[in-house]
């Protein structure tokens, strides 16, 4: 496993800074040390939740992730991976409790893309490209919407959280091989839906 260290933007990582895992262990006796875990990862976990649900849910649930992690900190096993993917796993399980928010969000994205009128004045060709792009964006949202929850979780941890296969496997408690097979299946579908067009840039990049 590659030891990928990700820190919130703007935070320096001075040599010899205490590791997340060591902090977690310290927090067993001094609970307030857990606050440093929060300070290090809150923004990132909030971002992940907000991307999958919405900002309000992210405001609520991001705090919940850290409360859960705090309560479960004695169960954290450094042999099984790092703290960051562990937090992502907790966040993903919480998203599982809010599937309807996620589904609504994706459905709205799919609809708004599909319903976008092409009444934009301007170059006809440009308008056509833009409509294509919106259609692709709608298709992408539709594909995400139609994915089985487990597949969507794996995809989002990989695409948004940038977790490695191994980290995804540990975060979700599923076998390593399952991560790979789910991802390749899902990515094939997404690529087909996108059809070689980046839905937001409109231009073909293939």
């Amino acid at each position: 496993m590659t030891a990928k260290v990700t820190r919130p933007v703007g935070r320096a990582d001075p040599p010899g800074e205490i590791s997340d895992a060591a902090l977690l262990e310290l927090s067993l006796r001094s609970p307030e040390r857990f606050g440093e875990i929060y300070d290090r990862h809150f923004r990132e976990i909030h971002g992940y939740l907000g991307r999958r649900l919405d900002q309000q849910a992210a405001d609520d649930l991001a705090a919940e992730v850290f409360l859960t992690a705090f309560r479960k900190r004695d169960r954290f096993d450094p042999e099984r991976g790092e703290v960051r993917p562990w937090l992502y796993g907790i966040a993903t399980n919480l998203i599982g409790l809010h599937r309807r928010t996620e589904t609504r969000r994706l459905a709205a994205l799919r609809r708004s893309a599909a319903a976008q009128p092409s009444a934009e004045h301007g170059h006809e060709e440009r308008v056509a490209t833009r409509v294509d792009a919106l259609n692709a964006q709608g298709r992408l949202a539709g594909e995400l919407l139609a994915l089985p929850d487990g597949d969507r979780d794996v995809l989002m941890l990989s695409a948004l959280g940038e977790l490695s296969h191994e980290e995804v496997s540990k975060a979700l408690g599923i076998p390593y091989g399952t991560v790979g097979s789910r991802l390749s299946r899902v990515r094939k579908r997404l690529r087909a839906a996108l059809g070689g067009v980046n839905p937001l840039h409109g231009g073909s990049s293939g």
Binding site: P31, E32, G35, Y38, F42, R43, H46, G47, G50, R51, R52, A58, D59, A62, A63, E64, F66, L67, T68, A69, F70, R71, K72, R75, W86, G89, I90, N93, G96, L97, H98, R104, A108, R111, A114, G138, A141, G142, L144, L145, A146, D149, G150, L155, A159, L160, K170, L172, G173, I174, R187, L190, R191, L194, G196, V197, N198, L200, S204, G206
Partner: protein, 351 residues
């Protein structure tokens, strides 16, 4: 073309306000300050259910509120207004229901109503949702979902539908009303019933979760309305009502806890007595209404009223119906055909 990049651009990072970050930190600080002595049994369940790594889950209820364990303030007297006495009767009936079994089996009919494309009549879309939640936290939860289709909502709507040529599919310009069906093009709603889809999941359906307190068929769940109120306390009284109702409808809890939930609802000023009503499936029951803090499953921005219909004789919850205040349109509903504890799970045996 990079599919990952496309996903990232489709779902942009939300802004994070310093207030939200600080509020979360304060909740955590509260947890540090009031950290309690660990209870071994709960801890064991916690690890078995594992919100995090274990991958197992419990049918539980999430209260996203802080709910820092604070000493209960003066406990209100639990008393019901006259129109809500049926809830006390329901509590008495349900308290004597058997609650042994290895599986909590639930058969629900859910759906929503919307106008036909021309606006001439109202259509109702329904789904059958069967779920079997194991008492054993290591076992899988089984589901069978069946799309029951779309039809005119009432006899009067049926007349208008016939006059419209009795169509079996409807095409909307732009948005499809109601829940989307994944296999239809956008804007199209079909009348046809779907095939049952049976599957099982390691994850339990977390419909009811207390923050940090998984609720399953645990004996330590409160049996009194006052304690239940403490446990289910939401960010405001509205979400407390929602939590209590979800527990009644969806959670595999003991009959004693269910009875306490009815008593608690009877005492809450947020619920208004409605009297005798007919539920969405045509059954007679008694109802209360309240303003839910939850959004209806189909996008609707206006104010809503949620009606809880109960059979006071059996103590069974019958339906949960959310309507628009503006025009009374039934936005969505969940009706309970049956909720029960059983030794066997019929879905599992089919596989």
């Amino acid at each position: 073309m990079d599919d990952y990049q496309a996903v990232r651009e489709l779902l942009p990072v939300p802004s994070l306000s310093p207030e939200a970050e600080r509020a979360g930190r304060e909740r955590l600080n509260d947890a540090f300050a009031t950290k309690r002595v660990r209870r071994p049994l709960r801890a064991a369940w916690w690890s078995a259910l594992g919100l995090g790594l274990a991958g197992a889950a419990a049918a539980t209820l999430v209260v996203t509120s802080a709910a820092p364990p604070s000493p209960p303030a003066t406990r209100g007297v639990i008393a019901a207004q006259d129109g809500k006495r049926f809830l006390l009767a329901a509590a008495t009936s349900v308290a004597s229901m058997p609650d042994d079994g290895a599986w909590w089996g639930s058969t629900l009919v859910s759906g929503e109503e919307f106008r036909s494309p021309g606006g001439g009549y109202t259509l109702r879309q329904t789904r059958l949702e069967e779920s079997w939640i194991p008492a054993d936290p290591e076992a899988r939860t089984w589901y069978r979902w069946t799309r029951l289709g779309v039809k005119p909502a009432t006899p009067r709507d049926e007349e208008a539908w016939r006059a419209d040529g009795a169509p079996t599919s409807w095409t909307y310009e732009g948005n499809t009303p109601g829940m989307l069906s994944f296999d239809e093009p956008p804007g199209v709603v079909r009348a046809a019933r779907g095939k049952p889809d049976t599957f099982s999941s390691e994850d339990w359906d977390f419909r009811v979760v207390m923050a940090g307190r998984p609720l399953t068929k645990l004996e330590q769940l409160p049996g009194t309305p006052e304690d239940l109120r403490e446990l289910l306390k939401g960010t405001d009284e509205r979400s407390t009502v929602d939590n209590v109702v979800r527990l009644l409808f969806f959670a595999p809890v003991t009959s004693g806890t269910r009875a306490a939930a009815y008593r608690l609802l009877a005492s809450m000023p947020e619920t208004d007595a409605v009297g005798q009503v007919t539920d969405v499936l045509g059954r007679t029951g008694q109802a209360v209404e309240y303003r839910s803090g939850e959004f209806p499953t189909r996008p609707y921005a206006g104010e809503t009223r949620t009606r809880l219909v109960v059979d006071p004789d059996s103590g069974a919850p019958l339906s949960l119906e959310t309507r628009s205040v503006a025009d009374g349109m039934l936005l969505n509903f969940t009706a309970v055909r049956e909720n029960r504890w059983a030794d066997d799970n019929p879905l599992k045996e089919k596989r």
